[in-house]
Structure formats: C-alpha cells, structure tokens
C-alpha cells in the first residue's frame, strides 16, 4: 500500500497542494503546510459556499458593519449599536457535548467582544435526534449543561433559542450559538492590523496543545473514527473568559489598542493572517515568546493551537506598558509576541531563526473556490398532501400532538441558563422572541432564532423563504421592527450534488425573502459535512434576527393574559400539511410540498402587528408554527395559565383549522373594548381577521372535540421534555 502524502493527512487535496507550491514557488515546510491546511479548510475558507453566499443582501442604511468582520453591527438609534453573530460548534459537540457546547459559547462571545461590544445576550438553536435514543439524551443533556456552565459563569444571559428533534440528527447534533453585544457612543473595533512597528500582543490564557487541526476536523464527515478526535475538542475556562471580557473592554475604553481579534479556529495562524491581510501589512511572530501551558511545543503546534480564551491585539509601543498593567489588574497574561511589518507576510520565528514565511493573503484569499455540481434530489415531490380527519381522529391527533416535544415547553432547557443576569430581560425565553431593554434609552431589542429543517428538506427554496418569514413574524409578534439577520448554514457534504442543491436553493430562497422584506444579513457562518454513518442531516439553515422596539414598555408577550379576552386569528388558513407536525405524527415522516409563502400578506401582517403593539390594543400575540393553531393555543394557555373556549367558524374545516401549518398567521388577544380598533387596523393592512374564541376559565375547550383541564395540560406541557430526558 502506498503511504498517504502529508498534505492529505492534513486534509488538503492534491490540486490544493500543487496550488500552494505554485504560489510559494517552492515546497512548503511542515509548519507552512499546516498553516495552509487549516486556513484552506472549509471551516476557515468557505471554499464551497463563498460563491453562493454572494446572493445575500448585506446593505441597509442602519448597517454599520456587514459581513467580513468578527461580527455584524447595526445602529438602533439613541447612540446605541448592536453587534451580533451566529456560529456552529456541531462537530466538537457531537464528540464531546459538554466542552463542545461550552467552547462554542466562548468563541462566539469573543467574536462580539472583538467588535468592542459588551456581550449582553446569547441564543442557542439546537438540533438533536430522537429523544427515544439514549445517545440523543446524553448529547442533549450535556450540550445544555455545557452552555449553562459557560454562559452562566461569564454573566451573559442566555435569553433564547430553539430546539428541533429529528432522527437525521441522531449522530450529528447541531449546536449553533449566537451572541449579541451592545456598543454605546462608539465606533466598532476593527480587526485590521495597522501601523508598521506596532506590537502584536497575545492576551489571555496560555497556549497548549488543544484543538490542533480543529478547523480541519470541523471540515470532515463524522464516522466511527471520530471518537479518536476527542483531543481535537478544546476545553473551556469561563472564568478566564469573564475576566478577558472585562480586561478587553477596559483596554478599548482607554483607547489602548489599535485593533483586536479573537483566536478561534486555526488559532494564531488565522488571527494573524486575517489581521495582516485586512490591514495590508505583514506580521512577525516569535513563537518562543508565546506563554505555553505545555513544554516543548513545536512551532506548528503553537501556530495552530486552538486553546481558548485568547485575544490578539495590535498595540502602539508607547501603550504597551499600560496594556500589560490593565491585564495584570485582571490577573491575565498580556505578552508581546511580535510586530507589524511592511512585508505583507506572516513570518514565524523561533527567537532569531525564521521557521516559516507565507504572504498573508495566500492564507486568507487564495484558497480555491469550488462551485460544485447540484442535482435536485429524487425525494422532492410536487405532491400536496391533504388530511381530512373524522372527529374521533381529530381528538386522537390532539392527544398525540400534546405529547410532541416540539409543542412542549422548553423550560427544562432554559431554566438551566441564567436568562436574567444584567437585568435587561423584559420578555423571557419561551415567547416568540426575547426582548431586552436598552438601559439609558426607551428602546428595546427583540431577538429570535429560527430554522424549520422539515420545510427546507421538502423544498429548499420555499423552506428558505419560510425561515425568513417566520423569524420576522416572531419579531413582529413582540412588536419589533426588524433590522438584520445573522445566519448559520448547516448542511451535509457539499461535494454531494443533492446536498449542494439543498444549500444553493435554500440560500437563494432566504436571500430572495430578505430582499423582499428589506432585511439584510450582517454576519454568518457555514457548517458543512454534517453527516453521520446513516447519512446527511436534514438541511438546516438557521437564522438569528434582531429587531428594535421604540418603547420597551409596549413589548407584547406571546401567552394568554390573566384577564378575559377575545382570541383573534389573523391571516388565512389553507390546507398545508406537507412537513407539518400532524403529518409527522400520522405518517412517521414528512413528504410532499411545504406551504407556499405569500410574501405580500406576510409583510402586511408584520406591519399590522407592529401597529397593534404600538397602539397597545393587544395583550398577546403568538405565531402559528409547529402544530398549527392547536400548538399555538395549547402553548398560549399553558404558559399563560388560563383556559379558553374555541369555536370552529362555520366556513372552516376542522382538520385544517386546527392543524394546518399555513404561514403568515398569528393569534392575538384583545379586550372586548379594543376589538373594533383591531378590526379597523386589520382592514387598513389588508389582513383577514376571525374571532375564534375567548380566554378564561380552568379548561381548554376545543369546540365539540375535546375539553382539557388546565392543570393537567400545564403539568404535561412543562414537564414533558424533562420527563423524556429522564428528569
């Protein structure tokens, strides 16, 4: 058997290696080759996604920083700006769920910190396999513990998230993490290295052998041997992260740093080469100056280490002492390890000995871009499945849906997260969107994460549009005006034409919808190769959306109010069952076409909801998603702690009325005296309105079909997931 060439071991293809030799005009040494391998990994170079990501709109008057920096930034007025980004930590979490999830939080927080923003919120969209599998329960429990361990300790509230269970995630769960930061009266920090002769300072933890080649690992499919990759998973130290946050914010506040970037995937190699490329300069690093956690580390290990809780700062020589002083106060290392040069190269030294030398832009800009083949998968069908259930079947379906984890409270998860620290949380996790007040202003921001993988699976383009619509609808439900998105695009192997079709089509759908609604993307991340031995995950683009509410006191909760009110359905119900929770329960799988989005109606609905909130005429607003109207009613009653009575309108067929998942629909509640005004505003915005019932009492009365006791419903709703996990 022929021995594998070294470049292949490092994850590079033959053509890629040849391109490196051509660029350098010579063979790279092992250090240089390792640096190329991580920087040209899918994770760092976006080789298969770059061309498609250009579909996304990225501009709007309120966008301060679009894609390309460590996080996007939007202006929210009154001197405030919000920085945010979402990222994946899927592969590490599949192997070592606790540390994988924990370090995911650490990384995304440092991205936002790099912008000079104080991290004020975290949100975590999670995808797991069937809860009936012990492996899934293990992963679920430890991912949640890992997020809690890290997020709680650093004092950044975890205010939201969403969870989806599907067997396609059995061996490859998704752990996406979003961080939001706040900037007041200042420009975002940049990451471009500037000023020849300035000093490169490494701040934070000592460097160890952890996570070497982590970026390469993240760019492979998971298989039986993945367990051996456990040492590729880094270990998080949230206490150091907390003091790193305080120290860096103090350095920025005192104007002591020229630019800053966190050390994430590919460690010093990526941060130095990206900072140098952006600034059009070179950087010299002396690996002998890097404080080490372990002895006798090789230069390539130091350059590739993904040890956590580290930041790289560019500092003017005259400020170096003060930088070290501030870090010392916080008991952190701040070590000068190199200089900004005019060479445009990353040069690695061991004291005086040059051990590696690569033009920075070869690492950051010259990775090949691939536009793979795409092919529409055979499973995609034009069928529009329909269900017409008898009364008895409707009752059975209601009872079954009540026991679906998708319709149950996620309390078991979010109560493990401190979601109140920093005392800004006005609307807590569990509602359609979380709302944080902005101290020193009347405003609030609204945050949501969404990404229904079933719809994308059935029709990637339409599914992409539906994700955008749902996220914006969730923002509108709390009364917010949308500003921008961040995204995390989780797919299988892009070299498989069917996977690439899913990717390309769903991005196109998302981009078209963003364009229509006038809401751009300002940051994001792509995670490919999410495959286990049994195949690829359902295609899972996930978005985080940020909106603004002008008056924080007008934020609208999602659940039924204490006082008796009318329950009003906004929008029109069609017969949409493809990809619905009902279909999953009846058939054990999803098929056919997902609902088709009417973008005009959707937009009108958002404007209507924003106006209803502003006028203060509704007491709650809840979007209809998984489980249709039935799901929304169940949740609104259980979480709102009140019963209701629903009557199916005469011209509605009950199966569709209760279970169809037609988008662009919301239930709101309103006091009797405000109903006329609600009706008028619906007329103004062209949104259909139907009064379907009233809240109150201690029973949930679904017309003639079913009456449930509130206390029992609550017990099931709040304890279902904990019970399934085994607590």
């Amino acid at each position: 058997m022929e021995e594998k060439p070294i470049y292949e071991d490092l994850g590079l293809k033959k053509e890629e290696y040849e391109k490196i030799v051509e660029l350098l005009g010579r063979e790279p040494n092992y250090l240089e080759l390792s640096m190329f391998a991580v920087m040209w990994s899918e994770h760092c170079a976006y080789k298969h996604s770059k061309a498609v990501l250009r579909y996304f709109p990225t501009k709007a008057p309120w966008v301060v920083q679009g894609p390309g920096e460590n996080a996007g930034v939007v202006d929210i007025g009154d001197g405030f700006a919000v920085a945010f980004k979402m990222e994946s930590h899927n592969h590490p979490s599949a192997i070592e769920p606790f540390q994988g999830a924990a370090t995911g939080i650490g990384g995304i927080v440092r991205d936002v910190l790099s912008m000079g923003a104080r991290p004020i919120a975290l949100l975590d969209p999670l995808r797991f396999g069937d809860l009936s599998s012990p492996r899934t329960r293990y992963l679920f429990e430890h991912v949640v513990s890992g997020i809690a361990f890290y997020g709680n300790c650093i004092g950044v509230p975890t205010v939201g998230g969403d969870i989806f269970f599907d067997s396609s995630f059995n061996s490859n769960p998704l752990v996406n993490v979003m961080c939001v930061g706040l900037l007041k009266d200042k420009e975002p920090m940049k990451s471009a290295a500037k000023g020849i002769g300035n000093i490169v300072v490494l701040i934070g933890s000592k460097t160890g052998r952890d996570g070497i080649h982590g970026a390469t690992f993240a760019s492979e499919e998971l298989d039986e041997s993945s367990e051996e990759r456990r040492p590729s998973v880094q270990v998080g130290d949230p206490f150091t992260e907390k003091i790193l946050i305080e120290a860096c914010l103090e350095l920025i506040e005192k104007n002591l740093v020229v630019s800053m970037q966190d050390l994430g995937a590919a460690g010093l190699t990526s941060s130095s080469s990206e900072m140098a490329t952006k600034g059009g300069v070179g950087i010299d690093i002396d690996v002998n100056k890097v404080p080490l956690r372990e002895e006798e580390m090789e230069p390539f290990e130091i350059m590739l280490s993904e040890s956590q809780e580290r930041m790289l700062a560019i500092v003017k020589p005259e400020n170096l002492d003060e930088v070290i002083e501030v870090c010392k106060k916080w008991e952190l290392d701040a070590t000068p390890i190199g200089k900004v040069t005019d060479t445009h190269k990353i040069r690695v030294f061991q004291s005086d000995k040059l051990v590696g030398e690569i033009p920075a832009r070869f690492l950051t800009e010259e990775a090949p871009i691939y536009i793979p083949e795409k092919r529409k998968p055979d499973y995609i069908s034009d069928e529009r499945p329909d269900y017409l259930l008898s009364d008895a079947e409707i009752i059975d379906a209601m009872n079954a849906l009540e026991n679906s984890p998708h319709l149950a409270s996620k309390k078991w998860v979010y109560e493990q997260y401190d979601h109140m620290v920093l005392t800004n949380t006005v609307i807590q996790p569990g509602h359609d969107a979380s709302v944080l007040r902005i101290r020193g202003s009347k405003k609030a921001i609204a945050l949501t994460v969404d990404g229904n993988p079933r719809f994308v699976y059935l029709n990637p383009y339409e599914g992409g549009r539906l994700i955008i619509a749902e996220a914006l609808r969730n923002l509108a439900c709390v009364g917010a005006r949308p500003l921008a998105f961040t995204d995390c695009l989780n797919f299988g192997n892009p070299e498989d034409p069917e996977i690439f079709y899913q990717f390309e089509q769903s991005v196109r759908g998302m981009a078209d919808a963003m364009e229509f609604f006038g809401v751009p993307v300002v940051s994001g991340n792509v995670s490919f190769y999410n495959e286990g031995p049994e195949g690829a995950i359902k295609p899972s683009p996930i978005v985080g959306a940020v909106g603004v509410i002008d008056d924080a006191t007008r934020a609208v909760p999602s659940f039924f109010p204490k006082e008796p009110a009318y329950i009003i359905l906004l929008g029109k119900t069609e017969r949409d069952f493809g990809g619905s929770e009902l279909q999953q329960i009846l058939e054990g799988k999803v098929f056919g076409q997902p609902p088709e989005l009417n973008m005009e109606l959707e937009k009108n609905l958002h404007l209507l909801l924003q106006e209803l909130a502003k006028e203060g005429v509704i007491l709650s607003a809840h979007d209809l998603s998984e489980g249709g109207l039935f799901g929304a009613l169940l949740e609104s009653a259980a979480a709102g702690n009140t019963g209701f009575k629903i009557e199916v309108p005469e011209d509605e067929e009950p199966t569709a009325f209760f279970f169809s998942e037609t988008p662009s629909r919301v239930i709101v509640t309103s006091l009797v005296e405000n109903v006329t005004l609600v009706r008028e505003l619906c007329g103004k915005h062209g949104v259909p309105i139907t009064i379907i019932g009233e809240t109150g009492g201690s029973q949930l009365i679904f017309d003639r079909f079913l009456t449930k006791e509130l206390e029992e419903t609550k017990m099931n709703y709040f304890n279902l997931i904990g019970g399934l996990v085994g607590y």
Binding site: K242, Y417, V421, R437
Partner: protein, 236 residues
C-alpha cells in the same frame, strides 16, 4: 439626613455587581464599586457581596473569595456593626468564611436553576427587611447551582429559635411546602441573618426584582430598608 454609602464588591468573576449597583442607583443611593484588593472600607456603611462566580468558583462556590483583602477587612467592618448583604454567590462566600452559619450543597436535582420563586419574609425586625410586612410574599428570581442550604441539627435549631431565618421559599399564597422548595434547602431556608443582625445572606436576587418592566419590584424594599436604617444605626 446623611445618605448611607453603599459599596458593591467586585471579585474577579463577580457578574451581578453591575445589577446590584444599578438597582441601588434607581433608589438614588450613594453607591460605588469596591475592588477585591481594597482593604480600607471605612467610608462605607453597607457592603453588598454580589452574585456571580468569584474566582470561577473552581474549588467550591465562594471558597476562594474569602481570602481576598476585602474579605479580611470585612470582618472588622462587621464587628463595627456595619451592614453586609450577601446575594447568591455573596451568601456562599459568607458561609465559606463562616461569617454566617451553615453550608451550601448542590441543588437537589443537580442542575442550575434560573426562575422566579416565591419567598416569605419571616423576620421584619432586621435592617434589611424593616420595610416589609410580616409574612409578606415576594416574587423574586433565583439563579444558582448550589443553593441547597444545609446546617447541622444544632445550628438549625439555633438559627430557627433566634429568628435568624429571614426568608423561606413558599408558594404564591405564602404556604411553605416541599413543592415550593426549588433546591432542597433545609426548612425551605432562602436567607439567614447573623446573630448580631447586621449580615444577611440570601440566595434569591433582590437586585433583579426592582423594576416592573423586568417582572417584579418585590426585592426593592430590601434596599429601601437598608437606606432607612443604615445611617447612624450601627449595631452594638
């Protein structure tokens, strides 16, 4: 009237320091932060030990913070009869330093819990609770992993008999029962005071319950009580 001077302690890893500071600001209190290396506490009338994960809580919750210069000076501060309020991790530090009796175990279900609970005010004859009515029920958040209060039988008898139990977990109607006990604390204890009556430790977060927009104002009267009683009323 002279306003009492509040100091909010900042240990590396404190993360509710800002919240306590802001809550006091809402009441227009005279407040500043005190760095953990500060050993001169003369200018303060009240020290708040805030929640968080001081020093990462790596040994045991609150175990390392007790060795800081601030904590060394705090004993003298307490001996002078000045007031100390320990919230969450602050309470844990006071237990580790043996300034308050007992210890904290991991929550009974072994998980971090963040949610609103109800607590009943058991003793209103303290400088921390004088603005409350006896048996008033407060809706207030908890957020901890180790809030399961434990004391020896003898200790427990003593603090119960002395009226040192200031807050107990209860239900919405003020009934103290097992179902309302979120973490397994003995006798549903949520907060205790020292014998002298000038050091209060509590697991719930009053600083998170000072504004209606956040969902509750029920914690505010702790700070109001301190504002009313902290001047010129040093305990002997």
């Amino acid at each position: 009237m002279k306003k009492p001077k509040f100091g909010v302690a900042v240990f590396p890893g404190s993360n509710c320091d800002f919240d306590a500071y802001e809550a006091l600001k809402i009441l227009d209190a005279d407040v500043s932060y005190v760095w953990h290396e500060e050993s001169n506490l003369d200018k303060f009338d009240v020290i708040v030990l805030p929640g968080g994960f001081s020093y990462g809580d790596y040994l045991r919750t609150g175990a390392i913070a007790q060795f800081s210069p601030l904590m060394k000076s705090l004993r003298d501060f307490i001996d002078k009869g000045k007031f100390v309020l320990g919230i969450c991790n602050g309470f844990q530090i006071l237990l580790e330093a043996k300034i308050l009796p007992g210890a904290m175990l991991t929550n009974k279900d072994l998980k971090f819990i963040c949610r609103y609970v109800y607590i009943r005010v058991e003793n209103v004859n303290t400088p921390f609770t004088s603005a409350y009515k006896k048996s008033e029920v407060l809706r207030i958040p908890i957020a901890h992993h180790s809030g399961n209060y434990y004391a020896t039988e003898e200790m427990l008898r003593k603090i119960e008999n002395n009226g040192q139990v200031v807050f107990r977990y209860c239900n919405e109607n003020g009934e103290v029962d097992e179902k309302s006990n979120p973490n397994g604390s003995l006798n549903n204890i949520a907060g205790i005071i020292n014998e002298k009556g000038n050091v209060l430790g509590m697991m719930p977060h009053p600083e998170r319950a000072c504004e209606n927009i956040l969902g509750s104002e029920d914690g505010k009267k702790i700070f109001v009580s301190l504002l009313n009683s902290a001047v010129g009323q040093l305990l002997p």
